[in-house]
């Protein structure tokens, strides 16, 4: 069964550094999403992406965040200058269509020191 994959599984970085989290969607999926889960809290929506454009973003997704699909396969989330409060599990999700079920990757645990 096809799966969403994410790399790395763990990322430790210093405050102020840039990080890039990567996601490989299921091959025929066209809609892409990033969510995050701060330890002990609920899963929160960050951004949705379709046709090489951001479709929707939450208030969490400020100017420090960006997304792109540079090579037609990987879908990336970049955090330009990490803060302590960015420490969380980041999940990528993909769907065939905007109305369809979203399938989640295993997540990247980001720790900002």
């Amino acid at each position: 069964e096809p799966e969403v994959t994410q790399t790395p599984s763990h990322q430790v970085t210093q405050m102020g550094q840039e990080v890039i989290l990567r996601c490989v969607p299921i091959s025929n999926h066209l809609y892409f999403y990033w969510y995050r889960q701060i330890l002990g809290q609920k899963v929160e929506f960050l951004v949705s992406f379709y046709n090489n454009e951001i479709s929707e973003k939450s208030e969490i997704f400020d100017d420090q965040f960006s997304v792109e699909r540079p090579d037609g396969s990987n879908f990336t989330l970049k955090i330009r200058s990490t803060k302590l409060e960015d420490s969380a599990m980041y999940f990528c999700a993909t769907a065939i269509a905007g109305i369809d079920t979203q399938y989640f990757g295993p997540g990247t645990r980001l720790t900002v020191l």
């Binding site: 969403v4 994410q6 999403y33 969510y35 809290q41 609920k42 899963v43 929160e44 929506f45 949705s48 929707e56 939450s58 999940f91 999700a93 905007g98 109305i99 079920t101 979203q102 399938y103 989640f104 990757g105 295993p106 997540g107």
Partner: protein, 112 residues
């Protein structure tokens, strides 16, 4: 705005007994409702969804959920719990093409 409430932080049940994990929602218009399960150090796995039609939805691993429009609920159920069902369960709601809004999760512990 849409929201989901999972009133129980934890549900304890003995193996072989039926289980229920509660979820209520708030959304304008017709809701799309989902249950996901998260095992330790794993991502969210899709269990089942309600879009339209029959109020009783059957999903993976013997789970089912009942949509109740008047009570705005979508409780997850299983007739006979397994120890391997122990995990964190998330209810989520979406209106049309909007994004998923998750509840805070309910930890299900099934004892042998």
């Amino acid at each position: 705005a849409q929201s989901v409430a999972q009133p129980e932080d934890q549900v304890n049940v003995a193996e072989g007994n039926p289980l229920t994990v509660k979820c209520t929602y708030s959304v304008s218009g017709n809701p799309y409702l989902f249950w996901y399960v998260q095992y330790p150090n794993r991502g969210l796995q899709f269990l089942l969804k309600y879009i339209t039609g029959d109020n009783l939805v059957k999903g993976s691993y013997g789970f089912e959920a009942e949509f109740n429009k008047s009570q705005t609920s979508f409780h997850l159920k299983k007739p006979s719990a397994l120890v391997s069902d122990s995990a964190l369960y998330f209810c989520a709601v979406r209106r049309g093409y909007s994004t998923l809004t998750f509840g805070k999760g309910t930890m299900l512990l099934v004892s042998p």
